[in-house]
Structures are given as structure tokens and as C-alpha cells.
Symmetry: D2
Subunit: 434 residues, 4 copies
């Protein structure tokens, strides 16, 4: 497999996308999405004139979709210079990638990347043409963060005794690629990742997997930069994960299979926020839903909603049928079709979460990036993982209410005093679960 | 606008479709649909070897989709010689049309026909190359039936005093086309429709609009052939209309707009079976639903389900935005987008009802066609409108249960005697509403 | 068991109730129910001044509840002289019976009658102190109708050869009582039931069981009076049976057991209108619901709503625990508690259907009684079973909409003409299923 | 109003309940509740033989219901010597109070206490006949905790300069009573509350209000004892508050009003866990639901579930109709009925939460009490507020799954290692919101 080649537009901005001729179509869809993303548009209105990110280099590794395009262009509207890659080999919407590459930022992403191409894109996203790297990082799943940390680690080992990373030291095919990529870079610049990490002000991480890695690094004392855990903003985890999946699971199933959901048996593995949204939509569509859980609390929640809770079987064999379509065969001979290799069905087979719920998630990202940048010299954020303060979480929600004609009740001074909260919030203690 | 040209395959079978190269893709989807249409497949198993339609000419005017392909090929598996057109200018799935045209039957249909093309297709569907016409008709919406009846009427007038139909006598643009088409035919063969009607054994009609026209003709005494009202089989109206729309409305909305349904206000005009399905799915997806009704019984049903019931406003202006997308502007200035010209969103913007529910509808069609054909000489069916007897309706349902692992309870002889129904059904009186 | 004794109030009106001191409490609840029964109250307003039932003798056998009290008092407000009994040994609300007995009509009913007492009450209800009988009958389940028809049959046999009914000729314990009661009456007046039937103008029947008996008699040619099938008015069967049970099943379960429904397994035997309402409320409360059906159409409907469809087992033994509470033991040893002897849980263990839905049912009764009475000399109603014409069914619904702030859309003349229905209804063909 | 008198049984145990003759009935219901409270019964099995509370004095102020009886008798089964009062003047179930008073513990509670009687009961509950006080406290709403803290505060002031608490210093009628009660006690024993607080090992608090007071005291530095916040165990707040109210709101409404919920407009003030449960059950019953919120995050959640979000109006006047029934009149003249003085409808008008969900809450209480007692000398708990560690929360859930036939999936060692959690839990980080 040959290495892809970076292209450049007239202005010299780099990119690598599937088909630049789809840019007009992408722009049309981005325009429509803006109407459904009131939080991001409000950020442009509130902060645009101040240009808080003026000249700031921002790298992002996050599904390159229409909704992400609105995030990217909110960052550029606030002054940032952005490079972007996708965080999943199947999730790029090529028309969105084309529109952003043409109009706004350096994009390296296409639907159906190989794993080698995926990590090449990630590396491009982090490497400014002038040799510098990002000052801020937006990550989803933690792959960009992983590459930087593994790079620094390898450079430290190399500095000691010239030992190079050894891809054959791991069985994980993806990690082999990462080690190979770092090894190849060491020969050119043995301080590349160390310099990059030093100039990086912080990262805001989008999702559970990436957040877990960050907390593990914090515990191990190896975290190199301040990190904001966007995933655990209420307006992210409770909205994107739950309501987003409730919307986009049936969407993906319908587009991928056109099969009637009513009357079918559906098995949902895990009843966290994502599982809650998935199970709710399948039940609403008339399916019979069984839930598997390891956590007794989530299992009891599933019971309370009328779901059968039963364990997953193992001993399953996998048979490939066609790309993104595998049959998993059970010991008794029956089989189930697994779509999108069990990855993100809604992005692989449909168009992902709807714009409105992504606006909640991404407004958290913009606010997290502003926090990291504005406080870059104050010492407020150490090399630890933080969640956004509750008043910012509440602000994200408030920015989305007018679009739905929802009107808040306002506390009087007496009422606020009686229940002992500020009349303008935050209204809940930190541990409140919503 | 020029008239389309009929094409022929090697065997001499006629067709006119968008793109024959999509036939393989169509076949793949037809194969998948067969697994979801147990009623039709059971008909092939039960009746295939007897070839009840051997050599019978059958014409069909019904959305030329993947599911309809399974219906067509069930008819041909039972021996029929089939010609087909779509009953809606937007509803053809071109890959399904190509597969059927290549493999099975004469098809005249493509997505995006003009009204002129639409009626040309309808006429082709009814005209066998040998000058004969259909012996059986499957209709949806009654356009094919209308054309035949208007043709006969015009020929009767013409026979009296050579008066030709006058397109300028009507304001209805579509009826202008029908009159023109009949007028042009009269010069070639002034008995064309009369002969065709004489050889037609009967029609089975799929949907509400067509059924209404049939009852009106029955009342007026102008109905020329026996008709079976498939629409009012329980396994059709209660399943296709209600559960089908419950599935395919969100599907169509998601594919057409990618807009999050949760939190939005949805207005459902009418709370019949279709409205019930639409309102249920919008509520389930988290929308706030308002229902408009003229019928107080349906309005009270809407109340019982928690919907707001409010009247429709009028005084609305229409502004075209792009094809299949219009904005209707209200007196206060706000507007709503109307998709697919207010026609069948689920077919125009998505892939229509899922196969499973269409299998219920179409198995009724096959059984109705068998009834009409088997009783063609018995005098059982006069020139009136009939519904299928309840035991056939129950049979259609029973054919679909095993696929969903549903197991019926069987009445013992004593139980059947106690409630005074046959142990094998029918179980309900004719007026039962389900 | 001794025979109960009829009591009389100061005016001479007869009654037999549990505890007359509960009359005030009953009146209070009747007052509250009136606010929730807009259809009945509208009948009082519309017809009260005309006194259409002035001096008419009306007998009723129908659960003697608070809601029935509003029905009785609507009949008396229209001029009728009413006698009443309950149609179920457990369903009387004693405070309602007391209030009506004190203020309005002759009542013979109490909660927990023996079967002997039950039939004694039924007989009292039909026997005016002056020796005459009812001119109109409101029946629920058909027991009063049965008694009259069995009485006439026995008198015919007796007239031939003095043969008396023989209670030992049947194994059915309840029918033994009926035969004994008729036998005992024959010695006093051998024409009692014959005279009664001759003066009876008609019956309006409330529920499925009674309607089935009526149609059986119509088929057998033994029906002695015109009958209106109120059960199959849409505003009855679709509302009382479905929405009523959806409300009152959880109510009855909660009051009887205080058991949490969420997480429990619920088995619903039958998916008709009653089963649909029951299954819907159990699902909504978080239970896992399994449905048993003999009818494949209803079974497929259950599948479409996500219910498991599985057959009922037999071989079950019954163990009495305490009154209205039995354990049914399955072959594998597990057992289920059956409440209210499997009869009407919502009446036996709670307060029955809520007033609003009963107002729909009972407004049909009032309108049926008006039809029978107004047409008593016109010959319109023969000795057959009739349903109410659709415009009266729609009227019942319309009377209930304002209470829920529901506003109908009105057809313009053009719209009505286009869809070919009267602008003021009826809006649907007779076979429409809602 | 005269002061109530303490009664004694033959063993000398004190009590004051409404009607001791209801004890048998209460025992019957307690027996039934035990079958629905698997968590508490599992605690008896696991800890009963060790008698961890042997001889320990435990006071409880918590709705004296059937379910609470099972909690009390779980504490006594573990060796505790218990005194109990209710924490709400309307919430006692007199038959449950009688059964416990007769068989198990000292109870001071009846339905319909005056405020004076309420605080008298609270004081009795804390005062052992031998002059000692509780070693452990179970509180709900914090009234018992408040009385102790106010008592200590008053004794400190009195010790300085003999100043007595002055009821006229407050406008709050309830606080007047508290101050009067403390003042009257000071003359008899000026160290009563100080000694009591010194011997108190800790308190476990059941609900939001009480927890808020505890955190306020912790912040102010005035908290005198360690406290465990049971309310914020997931198995409490997410189950009792949400699923409990979802069950018991319709129960209370049905018993109090018998009004049909379908079709009605319902206004839910606040969309926290309680509001979520209430709104869900009203929607499920067919009502149209409007939600008021001050918190934008909760407001956006309400939008996502399809609820209208609109502000509460003020300017409302209150008109008393009868006990527990008030009309609140709005500026435009319309009014709403407020039941149970806006307090706990489900306890005031029905039988409260079902046993199963209370078993979750109360198993947390037992475990919290065990923690406080077992660690009383270890210094683990300071004078602060704590939540239970997650593995105990998960244990509570696990104890309730078998009853619902729910089967957990077990992590393999590899799987646990891959996602980096112990194979036996805890499975989630502390901040996880469920």
C-alpha cells in the first residue's frame, strides 16, 4: 500500500480528501446544519469579534462530518488556524471534508481509510508545514493524544540508548502501525514529539474511550498536558450519547437494511448512556429488546424500563460476508449480521448524530478550548484531567432552548435564597446525576 | 416534451426504465427483501407448483419498488405474464425496475416521471404487444382503473355522435392529459378500451383513494368489472397504513433532512390509520405532536393518546425552493417546508415501507387475484366491490407470525364451542375493528 | 341462605342496599363524577326540558357504580322511572347504590352478593310493585335479557303440558339458580315473563358477552325484542374497552397488591380492545409483557407493538387463598395469583373505569334508549340487533372534546365535496375500523 | 391542644399509635411487602446471625409505612433496639405503625398529626426511657437532625447567659414549635441535647432536603456528627425518586380523584429525578405534559422527551376547600386543585412508593448504618457528609436482580483487564451519572 500524497490549494493550504468536486454539496449541507446548531452559532456571535484564537494553531481528530464542519468553522470564526483528521476510518462524510478543505481548514480524511492511511492522516493533522505543531488539540477517542504521548516516550528511550520502537513487540495490528510510524520519524527528527508536546497548551477530549485513557495517564503520572474531559459535561454525555443514539441508531439500521424494526428481537450490549438511547428507540419502534450488562445498577435500570436482562453468550465465530457486513455464528448455528464491523453504525451506514445534539457536544468543545487558551498562562490547569465547571455546562444547555421554544422559569431572589442557590445558577451540586 | 420510446430485450419483452445497469443491484435488494416477505414466499410454496395463473395476462399499476418486485415475481412464479407501471411519478426505485425488467416482467417506470410520461407508462402497461389487454388488474390509487373507465365512456360517446374528449373542458392538468391520451387513441381504434374492459376479469385495489373511487362507481352503477378492496383487509389497512408509516415517516424525514426530531413540534393532519402511525413515531422520537381532525371520533382518540388537537389554519401561500421542497408561508410570516410535494415522503425521500409490512399488503393482493381468477366463471363476483373473507385475512396474518417467533394459542374443541367460533377461525365477526 | 327483604323509603320506593348511611358520601362522589361525564350532562341539557321518557319504566342491570349513578340520574332527568341492579356480584359501590336509592331510583345491589342474591336482585329490578314490568331495558352482559327469555321459554313449555323447569337438568350452578327462580314463579303467575316481554319496547346492551348472546338469538330466531348493540359503537368499544382498561388495570393492581409493576413479567390473555389497553399500560409502567392469542391478526398486532406472543399453558390447578384471591398452580409448581376470581379486577379491587370514559359508553346508552323509545311505534326497529348510526357515534365523541380543549378542524364546502362526505359528517364508511 | 400521652405494652415498651387493633392487618401487609423487598431480606440473611447492632440504640424519623416496617424489623433482626416516628404529618400508615408497635419497636406516629404532635413524636423517638438517647440515627428530611442541632445550639447559648430560645423571634410557625419545645426542655435538663449529640455515632439521611441541610452545616462547620448521604446513592436517587414516583403518582391521583388521566393537561414543576418519573407516567397515561424548570440542562432534557417547557406563573391565591384539598386561583380566574397541601401525594392519598423500590432505598440505609457502626472507633468518618462507596451501591442493585429474573453478564479476566476495571466491580468512575 502506497503512502498518500498531500495536496495543496492555491493559497498553499494542504489537504487530502476523496473528491473536491463534492465541496458545493458539502457547503449546502453545512448551511442547513448551521440552522440546527444554535450553540455553535451563538459562540460565533458572542466571541467572533474578539478573535480569541487569533493565529492559534488548533489540530482536531474527530469524525469529519457536516456537523464537525460547523465546529471547525466556529473555531476559525474565532481566529484559529485549523488542521483536521477523522478519528474513525469509516466516519468521514466526503462532501463535508471537501467543503472544509476548500473553504476553511486543512483536512486529511476520507470515508474508508485503511489503518495505515488513518494514522498517516493523524500525523498530517499534527504537523504544520512550517515544522511547528498545534497549540490546542481537540481529540475524540484519544488517538492523536496517544500518538503524541507514544512519540515522546519513544524519543525518551531513544535519547538514552538509541533503542527504536519495535512494531513486532505487539500483537495489536493498529499499534504496530503506530510504532512503525514513530520509528520512521525518529530517524528524521529525534525531538519531533517532545517539541510538539512542549508547545501544546492542552487537549479537550470528546468521548469515553479517550477520557478513560486520560485518567489512566493522570493516575500513572504520564499525562504531558492539561486535559478537559468534554465527554462528561452533562450536555455532552447525556445528550450526544443518549439522545443522539436514540435518533441515529434507527436511522443507520433503516438506511443499511430497510428492515422493519417492529416485531424483531433486538439485543443491546450495555446499558450506559449509549445503550439507554439505543434500547429506547428500538422499544419505541416496536422491537423486543434484551439488554446485557455487567454492572448491576445499569442492569436494574434496564429492568425498570421493561427490558429483559440476559447475559451475552460467547463461543462465537465470525464470517465475513461483504465489507462492513459480517455474520457472527453462535454455537447453536444461528447467526447475527454485524454492521460497520461493530464500529459506529450511525456514521458508517447513515449520517451520524443529528446536528442539534452535536451542537450541544461541540459547544462544549469550543468552550473547553477557550478555557484552555484563556488560562494558558494562569496556571489554572495543571497536567490533569478536568471537567467544565457547571455554569458553563448550564450555559451550553441554555443556548439550545430558544430553538425549541422552551422557556425557563426564573427564580425570584427569595426563592433562590430559600433553596440556597444563585438565582442565575449553577443550580445543582457537582455530583448531581441528571 | 417528446414521447418516450418502448425498448425490447432479446426475448422481445418490452420495457422502459431509467438504467438497466442497476439490475444487479436491484436483484441483490430483491433477494434481501424476500427474506422479509414471508407471506409472499409462502404463496410461492403453496401455489407455485399448480401454476394457477399459467398464461394469464396481469397488469399492475403500483409503486415500482423492491417490495413490489417480490409481488410481481410471486405472480410470475404462479404462472402470470405481467406488465407493470408505477402509480406515482416519484416512487419508482430504478434498480428494482431494472432487475424486474431484465429478469421477469415488462416494466414501464422510473423515478421522476413527468405527468405525460406517467400516463404514457400507464397506457403501455395495459397494452400487450399482440393487441390484447390484461385479464387481471392490480391497481393502487385507481389510475389504471380510471383510464379504462374513462376510455370506455369516451368510446360510448364517440360511437353515438363522433364527439371526441376535449382536454380544455377541465381545469385539472392531470385529467387534461388523460383526455388527450384517450382522444389520440380513438382515431386509431375506437373500441380499444371497450374490448379491454370486456376481457378484464377483475381488479384488486390497494389503497384508500382507489377504493373510494370504486365505491363511488358502484353507487353510480358505472363499475365495469368486479373489484376486490384489498385496502380494507385488516392485514392491509391496519398494518401497511399504521405500522408501515410509523416506520417509514421517521426514515423519510431523517434521510431528507437529517434533522433531530426530539424537541421539535410536529403537526399531523388527520388521525386515521396513517396519521396514527405518523403521530406515534413522532411522539416516540421525542417530538411534541399536534393533530388536526375533522372527525370527532378520531379527534377523541388523539386526545386519549396525549396529543393536542387543534385546527389547521388556512390562508397559506406556497413558495418553491427546490424540487420536492416547498415552503408554505402562513399569514403571520412563519413557514413550513413541505417535502415530496406533500405526496409520499417515505417513497420520495426514502425507500418506502419496509418489506415485512408490504408482505402483508401484497399477500392480500395475491390472494385477491387468485380469488378473482379462480371464480372467473362461477359468477361469485359481480360488478361490485368486495373485501376478502375474514379467514383469508387471518391467513395472511398467520403466514407472517413464524418469522417473528410468535406462537399462537390453539382453541380446544370445548373452548371453541363455549365461545361459539370455529376452532380454526374466523375468530371475529365481520364488523370487528381490531 | 335466606331470601333478602325489600325495603321501602318514605315515598314508598323500594330498595335493597348495604348501608343507607353512605348516601352522603356517594352523593359527593356522584357530584365529582358529573364534572367528568360531559356527554351525559349534555344529554340532560339537550333533552331534559322535553322529558322524552316521562313516565316510562326503565330497568337496568349494570355495575351499580358512581358512574352508573350519573347514567341513572340522566335517565330520570329525562323523565324515566328507573329500577336498577348490578350485573356482577362484586362490582357495586355501596355508597353510590345508597345515594341513588335515597334520591332517585329503586336500587337492588350490594358488593359481595351471593349468586342467589344476585338473581333475586335481577328479578326485583324487573318487577314493578304494581305488577307491571319495564318498557325499556339497559343490560350489561345480558343476564336480565336471559332471565326474560328463559322465563318466556319455560312458560311456553308449561302452557303445553305443565312441565316445570328442572334445576337438576344442568351442571352450571348459576343456571340452576335461574331455573329454580323461574320454576318458583310459575306457580304464582304462569304468564309473568310472557306479559313482561310483550310490554318491553327494546333493550340496549352494553358489552361483548351480552351482544354475542343477542346475535346468537337473532340467528336462532328466538329474539323477542329489538336490541341496540351499544358495545360496538366506536365511542364505546374503542374507548371503554381500550382506554378504560389502560387506566383501570394499573389502578386495580396497585390498590389490590401495592406491588411495583416495573420489572415484573406480565401475561395478557387475549389482544382485543381490552387486551390492547391492558398490555399498553403494563408496558408503559415498565413491565415485560407476553401476549397469548388465538387470532393471528391480533397476534400480529401484538408483535408490531413489541410484545412477545406465546401460547397459554393448560393443566393448571386452582387453590383458594382468601376471598377474591386464588392461586393457579402450573405443572412445574410455580403459581400465579388470580384476583377477583378472574372477573373484573378494576371493579372488584378498585373503583372501575374513570368517569370520563364511562361517559362515552353511557351517552351511547342514553341515545340508544331514546332511539328505541322514540321509534317504538314507527316499526323502524324489528326483533333484531342494531348498532347506532355513525352520526350518533360521532355526536357522542363530539360531546366529549370541549372538556379536553380539543378543537376540530371544519371542512369547507369545497373540501367536503372533494372527498365526497357531508361537511358535518358522518365522515367514515360503516366498515371503517378506527 | 393537649399533649399526647405515651402508652406502654406489657413488656414496658413505649408507643403512641392511632389504633392498636389494626396490628394484625398491618402484619399481613408487612408479610406481603417482605416478598417485594429482596435487598432488606438479604441483609437479614447475611448479617442476622452476627447481630452487628446487638444492643445498639437506633432512632428513626421516616414515613411510618409498611415498607418502613420492613426496614425497622431488618434493623431489629440485626440486634438493634429501635424507636421510630414519622417525618411527615400525613404519611403514617396506621396499621403498619400498630404492627411494629405491638411486635418490634417503640413507635410514635399516626396519620394526621398536628405540627405540635409531630414534634412531640420526634422528641419521644429520641428519648429512651432510661434517659439515654440514640447511638445511631436514620433521618428523612433532617427534622430529627435539626432538633438535635438546634437543641445543642440553644444549650450553648443558655450556658453562657441563661438566654432561652424565643419562639416569637421567628415567623415560621413550625420553627416556633421547635423553639418552644427546646425552651421547655431547658428548664428540666440544660444538657439534654448536648449529651445526646455526644453519644450519637452518626446519621444516615434519606432525602434531598435533609442532605442539603447537612451539606450546609458541613460548609458552616456546625455539623456535630458524621453523616452518610443515602439520597445520592444511585440505587436510591435514581430508583426511589424516579421509578418510585413514576409508579406512585398515578396511584395517588387515581385513589384521590378517580379522574381519567388520558387527555388531561398536566403541569410538572421541576424536571429532576422526581419530575422525570412524574412526567413519564403522565405521558404514558395519555396526558399532555408541560414542564417548568429553572435549570437549563433539565429543561433541555424535558425538550428531548417531547415535553413543552414553559414558565410557572405567579400571583396565585389559595382557597381551602377541605382538608388536604386546596384550590390555587390564577389571575385569569381559573384554578387548580392542590392535593395533600402540595406535600407527598403518594403517601397522603395512596400507599406511597411500592415495596420493591423502597427496598433499594432502605437497603442503602441498612448498609449505611452498618458502616457508621462498624467504623465508630476507626476514625474513618469525621463530622462530614459522605456517600456510600460505589461497590456498596452496586451491591444494593445486585441484591434486587434475581427477583426480576435478570441475569448479569460476567466479565472475563481479559475483558476486565482490557477496560481496566475489577472483574467484580466497581464498574464506573465516581462521577458517572447513570
Amino acid at each position: 500500500m502506497s503512502t498518500p500524497t498531500v495536496e495543496k490549494d492555491k493559497s498553499g493550504r494542504q489537504f487530502k480528501v476523496k473528491d473536491m468536486s463534492q465541496a458545493d454539496f458539502g457547503r449546502l449541507e453545512i448551511d442547513l446544519a448551521e440552522a440546527e446548531m444554535p450553540g455553535l452559532m451563538a459562540c460565533r456571535t458572542e466571541f467572533g469579534s474578539q478573535q480569541p484564537f487569533k493565529g492559534t494553531r488548533v489540530a482536531g481528530s474527530l469524525h469529519m462530518t457536516v456537523q464537525t464542519a460547523v465546529l471547525i468553522e466556529t473555531m476559525t470564526a474565532l481566529g484559529a488556524e485549523v488542521r483536521w483528521c477523522s478519528c474513525n476510518i469509516f466516519s468521514t462524510q466526503d462532501h463535508a471534508a471537501a467543503a472544509v478543505a476548500r473553504d476553511t481548514a486543512a483536512v486529511f480524511a476520507w470515508k474508508g481509510e485503511t489503518l495505515e492511511e488513518y494514522w498517516w492522516c493523524t500525523e498530517q493533522c499534527l504537523a504544520w508545514p512550517d515544522g511547528s505543531g498545534p497549540q490546542l488539540l481537540i481529540d475524540d477517542g484519544g488517538d492523536a493524544t496517544l500518538l503524541i504521548h507514544e512519540g515522546v516516550k519513544a524519543e525518551e528511550v531513544y535519547a538514552k540508548d538509541k533503542t527504536l520502537p519495535d512494531p513486532s513487540s505487539t500483537d495489536n495490528p493498529e499499534f504496530k502501525i503506530v510504532l512503525g510510524l514513530i520509528r520512521d520519524g525518529l530517524s528524521k527528527d529525534s525531538q519531533k514529539w517532545t517539541k510538539l508536546a512542549k508547545n501544546l497548551v492542552g487537549v479537550s477530549e470528546e468521548t469515553t474511550t479517550g477520557v478513560k485513557r486520560l485518567y489512566d495517564m493522570q493516575t500513572a503520572g504520564t499525562l504531558l498536558i492539561p486535559a478537559i474531559n468534554v465527554n462528561d459535561s452533562v450536555t455532552k454525555s447525556k445528550f450526544d450519547n443518549n439522545y443522539g443514539c436514540r435518533h441515529s441508531l434507527p436511522d443507520g439500521l433503516m438506511r443499511a437494511t430497510d428492515i422493519m424494526i417492529a416485531g424483531k428481537s433486538v439485543f443491546v450490549a450495555g446499558y450506559g448512556d449509549v445503550g439507554k438511547g439505543c434500547a429506547a428507540s428500538m422499544k419505541a419502534a416496536g422491537a423486543r429488546v434484551t439488554v446485557a450488562e455487567i454492572d448491576p445498577i445499569c442492569a436494574l435500570q434496564a429492568c425498570m424500563e421493561g427490558f429483559t436482562v440476559a447475559p451475552m453468550e460467547d463461543g462465537i465465530k465470525r464470517q465475513n460476508i461483504k465489507p462492513q457486513c459480517d455474520r457472527f455464528i453462535f454455537p447453536d448455528g444461528h447467526g447475527v449480521i454485524v454492521l460497520a464491523e461493530g464500529r459506529l453504525l450511525n456514521l458508517g451506514c447513515a449520517t451520524g448524530h443529528p446536528s442539534f445534539v452535536m451542537s450541544c457536544s461541540f459547544t462544549n468543545q469550543v468552550i473547553a478550548q477557550l478555557e484552555l487558551w484563556n488560562e494558558r498562562n494562569s496556571g489554572r490547569y495543571e497536567k490533569k484531567v478536568y471537567v467544565l465547571p457547571k455554569h458553563l455546562d448550564e450555559k451550553v444547555a441554555a443556548l439550545h432552548l430558544p430553538k425549541l421554544n422552551a422557556k425557563l422559569t426564573k427564580l425570584t431572589k427569595d426563592q433562590a435564597s430559600y433553596i440556597n442557590v444563585p438565582a442565575t445558577g449553577p443550580f445543582k451540586p457537582a455530583h448531581y446525576r441528571y
